[in-house]
């Protein structure tokens, strides 16, 4: 009998079955479901189901993160409706304005654990693969159904194994690895698949960096992504978990639909050109391109290591174009305030925002003017993404974002490091 992939094992577990194979359609009961500022809209959909109430309020999390603090009265009314719903249904895990971005906060709170299945009303729910969990995004109707019944059908995806070897050079990060994968294999290279990472690179990445890989696999079409949790991940989890868990690992003889190998040792920083995260070139091909705004933050690259990278580049310098820095969570904010990172960024001229998603999808806190170019540490650069259709967005790692802010043009951070 052939071995099982991570996805096959995780979804069998979530369905309460001894076994499952790719292609099976299962009714799964996730360990946690979550949503964010879209929860008021989900509440309205839920009301149409006729369900008596939220089935498992202790398995539901809601964060306010996508437009925080509320930029308009309509956004404030949206938040108010969510708070009322949380109280009425006794939803166990609610995180107020300022606590941070759902994917970051849920990890910090120990609410997503290795081997578990996490469904979120957000496409970047692939993020939880860094903990060895099965994370997949769902739509609003599906979240309403999950609130109502506690379960949802999922097709067990075929798996793709990406084996990474080598250690990235200084100034080169998991973001560059992700962008290179997207550039090489296209925006649908992982469509419907469980993207399961392996290889010696993983252990060389910090925990902050590891989260970037599965997060970016949303741009690859992946259903979920997975990194095998090592001791460092289990130590992080054990300091936070409030329930028992069992890590899952793919069998050595698991069947993969596709296998890919990438040596990252010689990789240079990568840039996604405006229009698509898969429109990727090496930094050297686009260096010198003027930018008018730099944005450091998001679920992809708003963690402590990302802010420290920017501070390393900017210490003793001033930005030439506006730099917006938004920590991914209050915990990141506090740590960066305590260790001097934020002071260095502010001294260099950065504007610091409330933990949340900020301008990533064009809600507020850094909308560009038409024809203004932004270099961003986010995950998406689709036309209009930041609120203005004619404002091009370049995606890059945090080192590059900081160097470009200092130079006023897309710049190689390796020229700024001691």
């Amino acid at each position: 009998m052939a071995g099982r992939t991570f996805a096959e094992k995780a979804l069998a577990r979530a369905a309460g079955l001894p076994d499952a194979r790719a292609g099976d359609i299962l009714d799964v009961t996730p360990d946690l479901v979550f949503s964010h500022d879209n929860s008021a809209a989900i509440r309205r959909i839920f009301a149409q189901t006729g369900a008596p109430g939220v089935r498992f309020p202790d398995r539901v999390a809601i964060t306010l993160d996508h437009a925080v603090p509320a930029p308009t009265t309509r956004h404030a009314e949206n938040h108010a409706a969510i708070r009322e719903w949380v109280r009425a249904q006794g939803i166990a895990h609610f995180f107020e304005v300022g606590r941070g971005i759902c994917h970051q906060v849920i990890g910090e709170e120990g609410l997503a654990l290795p081997g578990e299945t996490i469904l979120g009303a957000d496409s970047h729910t692939t993020h939880f693969g860094w903990l060895g969990a099965f994370g997949a995004g769902v739509g609003r109707s599906e979240m309403a159904a999950l609130w109502a019944t506690g379960e949802l059908w999922l097709r067990v995806p075929e798996a793709m194994r990406i084996t990474l070897s080598g250690v990235p050079a200084p100034g080169v990060t998991a973001k560059d690895i992700s962008l290179r994968i997207l550039g090489d294999l296209r925006a649908d290279g992982g469509l419907y698949r469980s993207v399961e990472f392996a290889g010696d690179t993983l252990g060389a990445l910090s925990l902050d960096a590891r989260a970037t890989l599965p997060n970016m696999m949303a741009e690859f079409g992946a259903k979920n992504a997975y990194l095998p949790p090592d001791r460092a991940v289990l130590d992080y989890v054990d300091a936070r978990a409030r329930r028992p868990y069992t890590p899952l690992y793919p069998d050595d003889d698991a069947e993969y639909a596709v296998e890919v190998a990438l040596d990252v040792a010689a990789l240079e920083p990568q840039i996604a050109l405006p229009g698509s995260p898969a429109n990727v070139v090496p930094l050297s091909e686009v260096a010198g391109q003027p930018v008018q705004q730099a944005f450091l933050g998001t679920c992809t690259n708003g963690r402590l290591e990302d802010l420290r990278a920017a501070a390393d580049v900017l210490r003793g310098r001033r930005v030439r174009v506006r730099l917006i820095v938004i920590p991914a969570s209050a915990a990141v904010f506090e740590a960066a305030a305590t260790d001097g990172t934020l002071a260095a960024l502010v001294a260099a001229g950065a504007a610091i925002g409330t933990p949340g998603c900020g301008p990533c999808m064009g809600n507020h806190l850094g909308i560009p003017a038409p024809d203004e170019a932004t270099i961003s540490s986010a995950n998406r650069n689709f036309r209009g993404r930041m609120g203005t259709p004619d404002a091009p967005i370049y995606l890059a790692n945090p080192w590059v974002v900081a160097a470009s802010a200092a130079a006023g043009q897309i710049a190689d951070p390796r020229e700024f490091l001691p």
Binding site: G50, D122, S123, A144, S276
Partner: protein
Amino acid sequence: MTATLHRCWVYGDDVNTDVIFPGKYTYTITDPAELAAHALEDLDPAFAEQVRPGDVIVAGRNWGCGSSREQAVGALKAAGVPVIIAASFSRIYFRNCINQGLLPVALPTLRDLVRAGDTIQIDRAAGQIVAAGRTFAIPPLSPSVQAILDAGGLIPMLRARFAGERAP
């Protein structure tokens, strides 16, 4: 005779949900007519002005990639689009279609055979699409997924289920 005629709007590969329904509207626009007014706003402004109920989308690979926002289906549904045909769909978009009761049809080659404004014939009962003088089979869905579509979407299906549970 169950076949119906549909005018086509034809688009390329990797059309993402940000251009189908911009993120800046996601927490402020809820009315279906208003959703429809912004459909495909950053891809093809002519669409919202000229779309007629019954028109269909014919697109390339990876239609609906990006954000999970369900309004990217809802805006097209509100505009009267009953079927989206694409070479392939992003997985969340595909599910959102099913859950909204809008039929997603994955056909690898149709996009290369039709032009914007062409009329195609769709026979859902027979599982066929006739376009450019050729007949294509609509790929069957698994029974449990087809049941959601047949119920008119996920929410109508749940409404029937909870109504049944309340009945004596």
